[in-house]
Symmetry: C2
Subunit: 556 residues, 2 copies
């Protein structure tokens, strides 16, 4: 084995689902694979997006040779504008990926007004050098076209990052995954496999996407009302199959939802979806067609608050008013955490009188991630010396590790990693190195930054018990109270006793101020602290709740 040291540092996607991002380092040069984002959980109040922490790369910005993106999903591509902005436009490294992925990247960068980024289309199978890394993109199948694995070769050997994949033997469009190239790499001797763990907990093989189309047609058959199909906007092959089923039954198709229209447009321009002449109608013409002549393809399969389907379910969509007799088909499963939002949407649709078909009723969805047997197949094809499961919470990473053991990988050669924990490989072997900074960055409207950690804690407190604001006005001369204290509260529940309580609160303020004056506390900060403690105690005594207490002392 040649010299040098290779580091594989995951900055996201391990111990969690989402924000996948990996840093490959060889002799101080860096290659980044994927820069994904995550959507916030319910506890992250008021947060719009969650990004990986880019601090490690900001310090090493001059060492970055390039960023390679495996496919166009948000959890692999979505943080691209943010990292480029964070590194500074003038330092922005070049970006590489297959054409659809790069078209989606350009569209994102446009929205963020990042115009002078070097974005490069690469064909699967093409090899190119980025500093010490020989890079090759290997065609894979997934729930979006143009997915690929990334092979990065250094003098130490080759690392294969699979990205998201399934082994679909009959994909809807284009060839199956490049099994021969994977086998060839395995035969040549692969150093490290970083593989998708998303479905490590599902036994067997995933269903081929091609089996979904006929099932959709079966579901459509004989329906008298309109049919609304919702799926991920990036699931181009699914949309293709909906279009085909609609065409077969003589129905027109309308696309509803901004991201649906955008993605289908990009995919159409690149030839990933074929729409028969005259079948597509614009949303504004929906009302001009009889119910049994229409299929509406809509965003909202995850019950997203502002999505088209959610608005339809709330009878609040400008173009589509659902009614008794319409059918809504969920051609997607809820991502963990979205179950409630999806159930709520489904229930509202039932309330309107729609028939709702989900994957529990018919096999109208196929996962884009390989199941346990496919993960084993990947391991047996690629024959890696070392294995480091990627893309999964602790459970899935653990289960992926067990699958690797099952196909004969030595336990010592399997590394169950964590975000920020670099795997270091050199001539002597492989081991985890010292922990690097890795974490979450919250995006909140237009702002991004660690500051929001405090803001977030405050919001959680505010949302739990509300807030009391108490304004005391004191004389600059002697600290005596010169106006009645003002008490304002928001989000604090009160019953009849509120009036009396307010008087008592004011009395507490007066007493606290008097005591402070006696003790000659005049420094405003100290005064506010005293007030805070006295008030918080009183409020807890009386309400058995702990709202935020915010004392304001004004000197006049």
């Amino acid at each position: 084995m040649a010299g040098g040291k290779l580091r594989v540092l995951p900055l996201g996607g391990l111990g969690e689902i989402g924000k996948n991002m990996t840093v490959l380092e060889y002799e101080d040069r860096i290659l980044v694979v994927d820069v994904g984002l995550r959507f916030p959980t319910a506890e992250m109040v008021g947060i719009d997006l969650v990004l990986p922490d880019f601090a490690y790369l900001r310090e090493r910005v001059d060492d970055i040779e390039g960023i390679v993106i495996t496919h166009g999903h948000e959890d692999h591509l979505g943080a691209l504008p943010w990292i480029l902005r964070s590194l500074g436009a003038e330092n922005a490294p070049p970006v590489y990926g297959r054409p659809l992925t790069m078209a989606m990247a350009r569209s994102k960068l446009d929205e963020h007004r990042l115009r002078d980024i070097d974005v490069n289309d690469v064909q699967a199978g093409d090899a190119f050098d980025l500093g010490p890394f020989g890079v090759e993109l290997i065609h894979m199948t997934h729930s979006i076209p143009d997915a690929c694995a990334v092979a990065a070769t250094t003098p130490l050997g080759t690392v294969l990052v699979t990205g998201d994949y399934k082994f679909d033997q009959t994909p809807v469009d284009g060839p199956a995954a490049d099994l021969s190239r994977l086998a060839e790499m395995g035969a040549e001797g692969l150093l490290l496999l970083c593989g998708d763990s998303t479905n490590a907990d599902r036994p067997g093989f995933s269903t081929s996407e091609a089996l979904v189309g006929p099932k959709l047609e079966e579901v459509f058959l004989g329906r008298q009302g309109r049919i609304v199909v919702t799926c991920f906007a990036s699931n181009i092959h699914r949309v293709q199959q909906v279009v085909d089923a609609a065409a077969a039954l003589g129905r027109k198709v309308a696309l509803v939802g901004r991201s649906m229209r955008k993605n289908v447009n990009i995919a159409r321009s690149l030839g990933h979806i074929e729409v028969p002449e005259g079948i597509m109608i614009p949303p504004r013409e929906i009302q001009d067609w009889p119910d049994h002549k229409l299929v509406i393809v809509s965003t909202g399969s995850q019950g997203e608050p502002l999505s088209a389907l959610r608005r339809m379910a709330h009878r609040d969509h400008p173009q589509v008013e659902l009614r008794d007799g319409d059918t809504v088909v969920f051609s997607a499963t809820p991502i963990p955490g979205n179950e409630r939002a999806v159930n709520e949407t489904v229930d509202r649709l039932y309330h309107i009188g729609c028939d709702v078909i989900t994957t529990r009723d018919a096999p109208i969805h196929a996962s884009g991630h390989g199941y346990a047997e496919e993960i084993k197949l990947m391991l047996n094809l690629a024959k890696p010396r070392y294995v480091m499961p990627f893309h999964g919470d602790h459970k899935r990473i653990q289960l992926h590790a067990r699958l690797a053991e099952a196909v004969g990988v030595e336990p010592e050669a399997i590394f169950r990693g964590e975000n920020g924990l670099p795997l270091e490989i050199d001539g002597r072997g492989a081991r985890f190195g010292a922990r690097e900074r890795a974490g979450m960055i919250f995006v909140d409207g237009v702002d991004i930054g660690d500051v929001t950690d405090v803001a977030l804690r405050d919001r959680r407190m505010l949302s739990a018990d509300g807030i009391f604001v108490v304004v005391a006005t004191i004389s600059e001369q002697d600290g005596s109270s010169v106006a009645d204290p003002e008490v304002i509260f928001r989000g604090v529940p009160f019953t009849e006793e509120a009036e009396g309580l307010l008087d008592e609160l004011r009395a507490t303020v007066e007493a606290s101020l008097a005591r402070a004056a006696e003790e000659e506390i005049r420094e405003i900060d100290l005064l506010q602290e005293t007030l805070h403690d006295d008030l918080a105690e009183f409020v807890y005594e009386r309400l058995k709740r702990r709202p935020m207490v915010l004392p304001v002392v004004v000197e006049v």
Copy 2:
């Protein structure tokens, strides 16, 4: 058919899962069946419990003959203390139910210090009169012992409220549901069936509880570490089966979690659970036994924040420190909405190194609610003239209605109800009457009341974008500003520019006050409104967020 008018008014449980409560009225006399609660959803920030609105009953308190509870689950029994308190202890109607249910009711009332309530044990099969209602409790099987249906007979006919049920042909303890009595009532002619819809969306029959025990033993077999089983604390027969499996394998059993210990104690005292001599050990002795000699039965199957299992998963339980090699068995499925909390708990357990077994891995849970074929069986046994599906969101009520049609009930005889919509039956037929008040009451710590609606809206706003408090001090004489405006914010994300922004904010306040003085706005409320509008506009302009803006004007 005899005269008079019967009203069936659901105050909870229709169009939702939880807080089941029904008012039966005949000739102005009232019988209440079940008073359940619901747990809050994520949007109900800071709310502890959700209750039905009791307003309708408060106005009719003198007409209430009694409250009958079908079984001891929170969504049927949990609101009992609150309604009794809301009606006033001196007006409290008597409460009826089977012995375990009433034991659980007494325990709840004790906790709420409601001491002089008339709580009555009734045996299944016994008939008794409550005003114009002839009442009979009919033995049913469910996931808690002593479940029953309630038959209320008036001169117009009999209404059967099933409560929660399944037709378990081999229950773990006691007889199967009283099929003969149901058949007899059907033969005599049932007026109205109000049946459980919870599993109307599942085809076939539910699994018998008795099949779970052997599967649990299979899962336990050959494990070297400790075994933790989590299930609903009220699922007494499940606990029995865990105890039996432990005994068969020579393991001791420790019960962990307050509600688990409480419920098992009550059930033991009534003979619903049999524990072999010497098998139970107290939690403090857990560390004294070797790992392979222990089964721990724990609360927390829903990932509840303060539950024993959640604390174990966070390495924060005083008696149980989990480690590599331990096995955690989830003998329950997540209630819709709890998936995230459960997944998080599972993932933390994997991180610790535990093996986790869920219902996806082995058939170690059986639902307590009958599936579609059982709902049909109930309909065919009871042969009701009218059908009103109970206990379900809109989807399940719709699907239950379809099952009724499938077994031959006329569509006009099926009433898809809503909370607050009374079904009225008289000699001429059945129809929905005028809507009555029905809704949600939030319990927030010790308080209860409608006021919290506003508080909730405020909290949601606070939690989304935080709060700005601006204090302006003006002269009582001429309205001029006599001290620098104070600006305080919480939960608002700021980056470097904060300092400059605060200065601009203060300037905005000054400008707003000056303009108000010019326009001779002196009324404090008006002044605050002006300030609010000016500040909110400025903040949105600069931050593109809409925090709550709270202006306080102090006159000195």
